[in-house]
């Protein structure tokens, strides 16, 4: 799932400081699952904004809304009857949400309430970790299910580097060295010899380096 983090209240208050009536829109997709942009978070943000503004003597009206997903035009369209009632709209979806919203409603102003951080999963309740970098060419199987692109600070394909220290990465003691894990897993599985094979340089054109990406599935595209 896409993992995100809510922006600070002050940053959000600053975005909407000149408006007096806004709508906060959540998303029932990834951001609900990672507890950052579901209906509950919408309510918490709305209440917090109202408290902040009332305290400053500039009360604000805030309405709450949740969409099934903000990354599908049909769901986005559900706002059409109300979207113009507001001075501005805050989206609590990942970075996709505010864009789909502003594409659908070019006259309205949309603000992101969250910082979209990574593709990952919950390792336990309340803790998420990055697992995928969306590079466009998956090579996880060479590394026994451990992705060096997403999980090595340098995205090394032939690691570890000299910065690996007792299983941790030199950038922080909090960060595991994924190459340490890869080597250990290879040893455990008796396949250390795999690492004698030098992984050739990766073609990064499928990743962001190739410019904005687009996926097309001919068999799905509707004609007409």
């Amino acid at each position: 799932m896409i993992v995100a983090d809510r922006k600070s209240l002050n940053e959000i208050l600053d975005m909407v400081k000149s408006y007096s009536k806004i709508l906060v829109v959540g998303c029932k997709g990834c951001v609900t699952v990672c507890n950052v942009g579901g209906l509950k978070e919408v309510q918490v943000l709305a209440a917090s904004l109202k408290i902040g503004r009332k305290k400053d003597g500039q009360p604000i009206e805030v309405d709450e809304k949740i969409l099934e997903r903000q990354c599908d035009p049909e769901y986005v369209e559900q706002l059409k009857d109300i979207v113009d009632n507001y001075d501005a709209v805050i989206s609590m979806a990942c970075g996709v949400g505010p864009q789909f919203l502003s594409e659908a409603y070019p006259n309205q102003k949309f603000f992101p309430a969250v910082n979209t951080t990574f593709y990952g999963g919950a390792v336990s309740h309340g803790i998420w970790e990055e697992r995928c970098a969306g590079c466009g060419t998956c090579i996880i199987h060479y590394f026994d299910g451990l992705c060096p692109i997403a999980r090595c600070s340098k995205s090394l394909l032939n690691g570890p580097c000299g910065g690996s220290d007792k299983g941790k990465c030199e950038i922080s003691k909090e960060v595991d060295c994924i190459w340490d894990k890869i080597v250990r897993k290879k040893i455990a599985q008796g396949r250390l010899a795999d690492l004698l094979h030098i992984t050739p340089a990766k073609d990064w054109r499928t990743a962001r380096d190739g410019g904005p990406r687009k996926a097309k599935r001919e068999e799905l595209i509707q004609n007409g």
């Binding site: 029932k28 997709g29 609900t32 699952v33 507890n35 950052v36 579901g38 209906l39 509950k40 978070e41 309510q43 949740i66 919950a122 309740h125």
Partner: protein, 1010 residues
């Protein structure tokens, strides 16, 4: 009531004594289809536990845990509390007794009394408050304690001057000066005695100066001192000058293990633990570091999690000093001087600010007299006599016993026995089950769907308790102005019978569909009002209360204006919520009238047989190829009853009973369902792999334990080193080794109280004592040593310790740091050295046999416990729902436990726990159906993102993601805490009756004052 006749079985029972044991027995029987008369000589129920501050080893607040039980008993349709009364005679026989009761006058009509307390306020007579152990005062009109049930006052006519003040102020007209003792009779099929015992009065010990020095207090007095609702409001002070003590000493065994002064040779079983508790709690209370010292003989922390508690106290700096103090002398400034001798012989002197006497339990004179009146044999200690193999049966058929009237014991043991007694008492009454119980005929519920809220508000004056402080008419008129309110009135006593009738009439006449009562606390009165509105066809959840007495006029009595304003606020909040309350449907789920029992040892067999004898199907699943478990290795019970014939008979009874189906060499593979309706798959392990499906309403896990196989002390290497099981077998076989032995040594705590097994195995001290006496009987010339750390012969087992010493068994204490050393020479001769704690030097002995008191371990059943989702503690024993009051229940509804899987225990205790489990299952399977729903969490599937938050945060692991792809919460399993509701990121879960809308409505209303 039916007439008692020769062949008629009466479907009601009497419980004598309403302490925690009597309460448990009553609830168990009333919930299993019998009408219960619960008798107590006191004006209110609750017994000794209500006086305690905290309970060991969890430090739970005693009142917090017992008070919901008190309320449940008080409101139970099938429990008739007969307070202030005594049993005079008991005629007839099992199945049909006729009991004559003496109902002592209360001088206040408990039915009319609203517990407003006006009578107390005006009473001019002051007396000592016995509930606070005379550390405080009460009036002649009094209530024992604020949470008392029945919640009604009493006049102590022994001191009343008859001034008539209370009668004048009692607006409920409940005062009844001319009340006289009455005699009544009840007819019952069985009787359970739970009169408890007394706390030893140490006044006789002149050397302890208890009678002369206020700073020498009993442990019960100290409980009251610690209690937040006690005489010092929970502030740790000593009585003499109300100074904060900095140094307190506890004297163990005051009135226990003593035949010089106390005449109680037995161990009181509970004092070591409660003293440790008191040291810990006192330290918590103290703002400055508190020095605590416990003077003891043996530290008897023999129960579940007890030794860890003891270690916690040691780590927390509590000083444990092994010494018997004989004199406490007054010192300067109210302090007390103690002189004692250390084991090394060194004389010590120390001064303390305060001394607590850990007083033991002593037989109650009243209970003794009652036993004589009704023909119950007492043992030599003047407690009810029972056998180990029929642990709750008295000498009179149809009369059972539980709790401390049977012997000193702690709360969970009392509660277990109470349930066991309930099972035994009702076993022969099953043909009369549900014949005398009452049910309430209720009209069908009216459908208000689509209707606007029409709220009726009833404001109570509570005599002058509310009306005398707040302006009730103003509150009433204010309520009229609130949205959706269509009717208001105020009543003198909203809870009185006539007002209830009036409320019902008004609801119907005005078409009221939501009711608000502004009066006392919902804690005590909500069920009453809910019943009332239900009688008019309103769902009981269409009700809300404003607590304008306990939380308003009683605390703001000197500020009527504020009390009125706050009452208005509270009423506004209640009305706001009432507009949103919805009827909640509780559905009846059919119950499968069968019980699954897992484990074919004594506990499992007793459980299965008990269920069958109650008239229900039992399935007994055992993984080995025989029934009997570890009892096959036992020779006699601690009182000397032979185990083998009992076991043989039990196995035969189980195998021949038409309602017990036994599955040997069978394992449980899978279980689904909830309380009342479980479906379990079992598979045969004997090669054919046959699986069967069992449907049952409850399950009892009795998966047993085993003896630790020692790796210490040459066990398995030398033929004359035995465990208890080995020794029992050798005695039975009359082995030559035993006959020829000139010296035997028992080594205690082998595998117990070690870092690997940091718990006491409870039974080994008794087993060694019993065995030593047997060896002495076989060969009086045999020299016997018992090497021990603490002798833990709790309760009457102390008799064995006493006898063993009299018979010349030598006791040598060793420290775990210096364990005995056992070697064998080339000729296979054993040689043992141990440091003698009195002589302070090594002792070398040459035993012919060495018996290791090996630990009791839980059987390993990890996979099986996971199937049932039942928890184990760090020692591998199953964890019950509550260490004190639910010792045979699991946290998961419908599952129960018994026997060694719970904790090491003796055979009598296992039998009692198994029978207790039977009683607990009868609360389920004897019913046609069980009600589920009400205040439970419900999922709005449209909003659910299947994110797993509820699954991960529920403390009971109830929610799951169902096949449909959203969270499912079974109403029968949900405990209704609302934790998942407030964690759900999609706001997909609501807690019925406490929805966001309802909670926010109250908040909004509070801050929207006009």
């Amino acid at each position: 009531m039916a007439n008692a006749s020769e062949n008629k079985t009466i479907g009601s029972v009497m419980v004598v004594g309403a302490g925690v044991a009597g309460i448990q027995a009553s609830l168990d029987m009333a919930n299993a289809g019998y009408y219960v008369h619960l008798l107590d000589s006191s004006p209110s129920i609750g017994g000794l536990m209500a006086q305690l501050d905290k309970t060991f080893p969890t430090n739970d607040c005693a009142m917090c845990v017992i008070s919901p039980f008190l309320v449940e008993v008080g409101r139970h349709l099938n429990i008739n509390i007969i307070s202030n009364s005594e049993l005079e005679t008991l005629e007839g026989e099992a199945g049909a007794f006729r009991a004559t009761l003496r109902n002592n006058p209360r001088y206040i009509d408990a039915e009319k009394c609203t517990a407003c307390g006006q009578c107390r306020d005006v009473c001019p007579v002051t007396a000592v408050n016995e509930f606070d152990c005379k550390l405080d005062l009460r009036k002649a009109t009094y209530i024992k304690y604020p949470q008392a049930v029945p919640l009604a006052y009493k006049i102590d006519r022994s001191i009343c001057i008859g001034c008539g003040m209370c009668e004048k102020v009692c607006l409920a007209q409940a005062i009844f000066y001319d009340d006289k003792p009455r005699q009544t009779t009840v007819e019952v099929g069985a009787v359970v005695l739970a009169m408890g015992n007394d706390v030893f009065n140490p006044s006789a010990f002149d050397t302890y100066n208890y009678a002369n020095h206020p700073n020498v207090v009993t442990s019960l007095e100290f409980e009251r001192i610690l209690s937040a609702s006690g005489p010092y409001k929970g502030h740790l002070m000593r009585p003499y000058d109300r100074q904060i003590p900095e140094k307190i000493a506890w004297m163990q065994c005051v009135g226990s293990r003593d035949i010089n002064r106390a005449d109680n040779s037995y161990c009181s079983s509970v004092c070591c633990m409660y003293s440790i508790k008191q040291t810990l709690i006192a330290k918590e209370h103290a703002e400055t570091p508190l020095d605590t010292a416990v003077f003891y003989m043996d530290m008897r922390t023999y129960g579940k999690e007890f030794d860890k508690y003891y270690m916690r106290a040691q780590d927390g700096g509590v000083r444990f000093i092994r010494a018997r103090v004989h004199t406490i002398e007054p010192a300067a400034d109210g302090d007390l001087k103690i002189r004692y001798v250390r084991e090394s012989g060194e004389l010590k002197e120390e001064t303390f600010n305060m001394v607590v006497l850990a007083v033991g339990l002593t037989p109650s004179k009243d209970a003794e007299a009652l036993a004589k009146r009704i023909g119950i044999d007492l043992n030599t200690h003047r407690y009810a006599k029972t056998n180990d193999l029929s642990p709750v049966s008295t000498s009179r058929k149809g009369v059972y016993v539980c709790g401390t009237f049977q012997g000193p014991k702690d709360i969970p043991q009392s509660v277990m026995e109470a349930s066991a007694a309930a099972a035994q008492a009702t076993q022969n009454l099953s043909q009369a089950r549900w014949t005398l119980t009452r049910t309430k005929e209720l009209p069908p519920e009216k459908d208000f769907s689509g209707q606007e809220p029409r709220i009726g508000v009833f404001v109570c004056n509570c005599g002058i308790n509310i009306g005398g402080v707040a302006d009730v008419p103003a509150v009433r008129e204010y309520a009229r102005s609130l949205p959706n309110v269509i009717h208001v009135e105020d009543n003198l006593f909203t809870c009185s019978q006539d007002t209830q009738e009036n409320i019902k009439k008004v609801i119907v006449e005005k078409g009221i569909n939501r009711v608000v009562v502004a009066s006392c606390s919902p804690r005590t009165h909500e069920p009453l009002f809910q019943e009332t509105i239900r009688e008019t066809g309103l769902n009981k959840y269409l009700f809300e209360m404003a607590n304008i007495r306990d939380q308003n006029t009683w605390v703001h009595m000197h500020n009527p204006e504020r009390a009125t304003a706050k009452a208005k606020d509270l009423v506004r909040m209640a009305v706001a919520k009432a507009a949103y309350v919805e009827p909640l449907q509780q559905v009846i789920l059919e119950v499968k009238p069968a019980v699954l029992v897992v484990g074919g040892g004594v506990a499992g067999m007793e459980a299965a047989l008990g269920v069958a004898r109650q008239g229900y199907q039992a399935y007994l699943v055992e993984r080995s190829n025989q029934l009997g478990g570890v009892a096959h290795h036992l020779r006699v019970t601690w009182q000397g009853e032979a185990v083998a014939p009992y076991l043989k008979q039990l196995i035969a009874d189980v195998q021949s009973h038409e309602r017990v189906q036994v599955f040997l060499e069978t394992e449980v593979k899978h279980i689904t369902g909830t309380i009342g309706n479980f479906i379990t798959t079992i598979a045969s392990e004997n090669g054919n792999g046959k699986t069967s499906i069992l449907e049952h309403g409850a399950a009892i896990l009795a998966t047993g334990g085993k003896e630790y196989k020692p790796t210490e002390y040459l066990y398995g290497k030398h033929p004359n080193v035995l465990t208890h099981f080995d020794l029992d077998q050798a005695i039975t076989e009359e082995s030559d080794t035993l006959k020829n032995a000139k010296m035997a040594v028992f080594i205690q705590c082998v595998g117990s109280r070690t870092p690997e097994h940091p718990y006491c195995s409870r039974v080994c001290c008794t087993h060694s004592l019993k065995s030593a006496l047997t060896l002495k009987k076989m060969n009086p010339e045999m020299k016997i040593f018992i090497l021990y750390r603490d002798i833990r012969s709790y309760g009457f087992r102390e008799d064995l310790y006493k006898e063993a010493r009299e018979k010349g068994v030598q006791f040598v204490r060793y420290d775990p740091e210096n364990p005995p050393n056992l070697i064998s020479d080339e000729q296979n001769n054993l040689s043992l050295t141990v440091k003698d704690h009195i002589l302070q030097r090594p002792l070398e002995i040459k035993p012919d046999i060495v018996i290791l008191a090996a630990a009791i371990l839980a059987n390993e059943n990890k996979k099986f416990f996971e199937i049932f989702k039942v928890p184990t503690n760090s020692d591998g024993f199953l964890v019950e729902a509550h260490a004190k009051l639910r010792p045979v229940d699991f946290g998961s509804e419908g599952l129960f436990l018994a026997g060694l899987a719970h904790y090491p225990k003796s055979l009598d205790e296992s039998i009692a726990q198994a029978r207790a489990a039977v009683s607990r299952t009868m609360n389920i399977v004897s019913k046609k159906g069980i009600l589920v729903g009400g205040v439970v969490a419900t999922v709005n599937s449209d909003r659910c993102a299947a994110c797993l938050t509820c699954v991960r945060t529920c403390p009971y692991h109830i929610p799951r993601i169902g096949e449909e792809g959203y969270a499912v919460i079974e109403p029968a399993e949900c405990h209704g805490c609302g934790i998942c509701v407030s964690e759900c990121p999609g706001k997909a879960i609501s807690l019925q009756h406490f929805t966001d809308e309802q909670i926010n409505a109250k908040t909004d209303a509070l801050f929207s004052a006009a």
